[in-house]
């Protein structure tokens, strides 16, 4: 199975889209080699602008570009995009509903050795809370390429959360994707694992291992965290009667929160959340950190067993 970092797929997708659509403008804040917008910069230097280390201004400039008819993609690390420039995103991009695409890389603890100051575990919560914002968290390189194109075609603000490390390729090139639609990547009847981003690979591994002990699980890739695919979540709750959520993010305000609030209102079933439990990240290598923060296939397996016991 090939492994690709979603940030690399983003950089590649931008270059391809740039050739087709001349209204795309790319902005970056001194991290173009890391966010992979450098490829676009090499190919279309006249449509790439460095904002310098000034994320708040970058978001404001993106708003202006969008107001003047361009489709800006603004990139930096997730912590500086959703965090540093939060209020500019809220008031200059989402409030006026401007067509800005924010592609934020290095999300979650798999940033690794740079440590907790650079590991964004709150960005889904922040971006999800703002009206008009669409939040995408792709699981692999193939879906990233599709979702970047769909984000371009979509009218309105979109936040795309991307990772630093390589992840398993889950999809085939010509699989169908749509914003707002969960993808069932495996079916089962004992519980459903709803995951996004890198946790989809962990969920699939957990599902494979569980099946060896006779437990079958459905796995939903919730690449669109907002708007949530309500139908897919409610069907999973009704048909499998137990849900595990899995995200490389705080359990406060992220995918788990989105799923649990929906279920609490419409169809309460037992839920276990796999995610960061109200702690900051720290330095370490990505695999170690996934273990330290309870974000591995083994943690999902434990959560599935627990949730089934609560049925």
């Amino acid at each position: 199975m090939s492994k690709v970092a979603t940030r690399d797929a983003y950089g590649q997708a931008l270059v391809e889209l740039g050739g087709q659509y001349s209204d795309i403008i790319v902005l970056d804040a001194d991290l173009s080699k890391s966010t992979k917008t450098a490829k676009f910069k090499e190919t279309y230097p006249e449509r790439f602008f460095s904002a310098g280390i000034a994320e708040a201004n970058m978001m404001g400039v993106a708003a202006g570009l969008a107001a003047a008819g361009k489709v800006p993609f603004a990139s930096t690390f997730a912590i500086f995009a959703a965090g540093r420039a939060f209020e500019q995103i809220r008031n200059s991009i989402c409030y006026p509903d401007l067509n800005v695409k924010i592609a934020a890389t290095h999300a979650g603890v798999t940033v690794g050795a740079d440590g907790g100051s650079h590991q964004s575990i709150e960005d889904i919560a922040l971006m999800r809370a703002v009206p008009n914002m669409t939040v995408l968290v792709p699981a692999d390189g193939v879906s990233t390429a599709h979702l970047i194109k769909l984000a371009y075609q979509f009218a309105g603000p979109v936040y795309i959360r991307l990772g630093r490390t390589k992840v398993d390729t889950v999809y085939q090139k010509d699989d169908f994707f749509a914003i707002g639609e969960a993808k069932m990547v495996r079916d089962g009847k004992d519980a459903t694992i709803i995951a996004c981003g890198l946790m989809v690979q962990e969920a699939l591994q957990a599902a494979r291992e569980l099946s060896l002990s006779g437990i079958t699980t459905r796995v939903l890739d919730m690449a669109t965290v907002k708007p949530l695919d309500i139908g897919a979540v409610l069907r999973a709750a009704k048909e499998t009667k137990a849900i595990v959520t899995a995200e490389e993010h705080s359990i406060i305000g992220g995918l788990g929160s989105a799923v649990t609030s929906l279920l609490a209102e419409h169809h309460p079933v037992p839920v276990q959340m796999v995610g960061v439990r109200d702690r900051f990240g720290q330095s370490g290598d990505p695999a170690e950190l996934l273990r330290e923060y309870g974000l591995t296939a083994d943690d999902i397996i434990a959560a599935v067993k627990k949730v089934i016991s609560r049925k």
Partner: protein, 272 residues
């Protein structure tokens, strides 16, 4: 050079050796900006700052904020060399569970006055520390180092205005003017010049020095202590200073040397 400066120069060399060794060991980190700040940090920790490593929270101590937090190795080397923690800890840099996080973390390591890493924010915190000293009529000084790329953050200029407005004469800041950031030359990425003029216009006392001249660094601080305003010392530096293959190379901003490169670098940094 008087013997005092000879001794400081030796400390600076030793600091550079620690920087290279620990980043090599960690396999990731930021050598370029650590090496460019090494002489300033040496002067601060071995000559200028009034600190008590055995009593690190002594209320009257001078404060230091490394606003360009990615240069953490230079701070860790200084703290270890001054006895805040054993030198052997340096090899835990960036490892799981280490107090030596990728960027300085005041909750994990004694001697770190402010957690930094998100550019622009440490400078504001330094302003706050100086303000507290002024409010309490304390005699301590607050020192900080900021990067030239870091100046692009709007927050820096908000803090600049605040410090001058409140006449924080107890605030002495070094600008590590090495001309480089990640994506290349500061001039090409987002020009920040004219520099002395900008700080003057914001109401700061400005000096320009060679940031690798220990005597000039110490002299600039004595001069700054005479001023009635906050001081910006524009220190002209070389990113990667002391390791020939790293000097003035943007590529060495955030990559670790291989074990062979560590050997080469250490050879260049041998003491006399």
């Amino acid at each position: 050079m008087s013997c005092r400066y000879t001794e400081l120069a030796d400390q600076a060399l030793a600091m550079r050796r620690h920087i290279i060794t620990m980043i090599g060991e960690a396999g990731s980190g930021h050598p370029g900006g650590s090496l460019s700040s090494a002489d300033i940090v040496t002067a601060l920790y071995f000559e200028l700052m009034n600190i008590r490593p055995k009593n690190p929270n002594w209320p009257e101590r001078d404060r230091f904020v490394l606003s360009k937090g990615h240069a953490a190795p230079v701070l860790y080397a200084a703290l270890a060399m001054r006895g805040f923690f054993p030198l052997t800890k340096l090899k835990t840099l960036r490892k799981l569970g280490s107090p030596l996080q990728g960027h300085p973390d005041m909750q994990k390591l004694t001697g770190v006055e402010m957690s930094t890493g998100s550019l622009g924010q440490g400078f504001s915190a330094a302003v706050g520390m100086a303000l507290a000293g002024q409010v309490d009529q304390q005699s301590y000084y607050t020192y900080a180092i900021i990067g030239d790329g870091e100046l692009q953050e709007g927050q820096v200029w908000e803090a600049a205005m605040f410090a001058a407005h409140h006449k924080l004469r107890n605030l002495i800041v070094f600008l590590d003017f090495n001309g480089l950031q990640i994506d290349g030359q500061v001039e090409c990425v987002m020009n920040v010049q004219p520099l002395p003029d900008k700080w003057q216009a914001f109401g700061w006392a400005v000096q320009q020095i060679d940031g690798h001249d220990l005597r000039a660094i110490c002299g600039a601080v004595s001069q700054a202590k005479q001023e009635e305003q906050p001081s910006m010392i524009v220190a002209h530096t070389v990113k990667g200073k002391g390791v020939s293959f790293m000097e003035n190379q943007a590529g060495w901003h955030g990559s670790a040397p291989s074990s062979e490169q560590v050997v080469h670098a250490l050879k260049e940094l041998e003491g006399r």
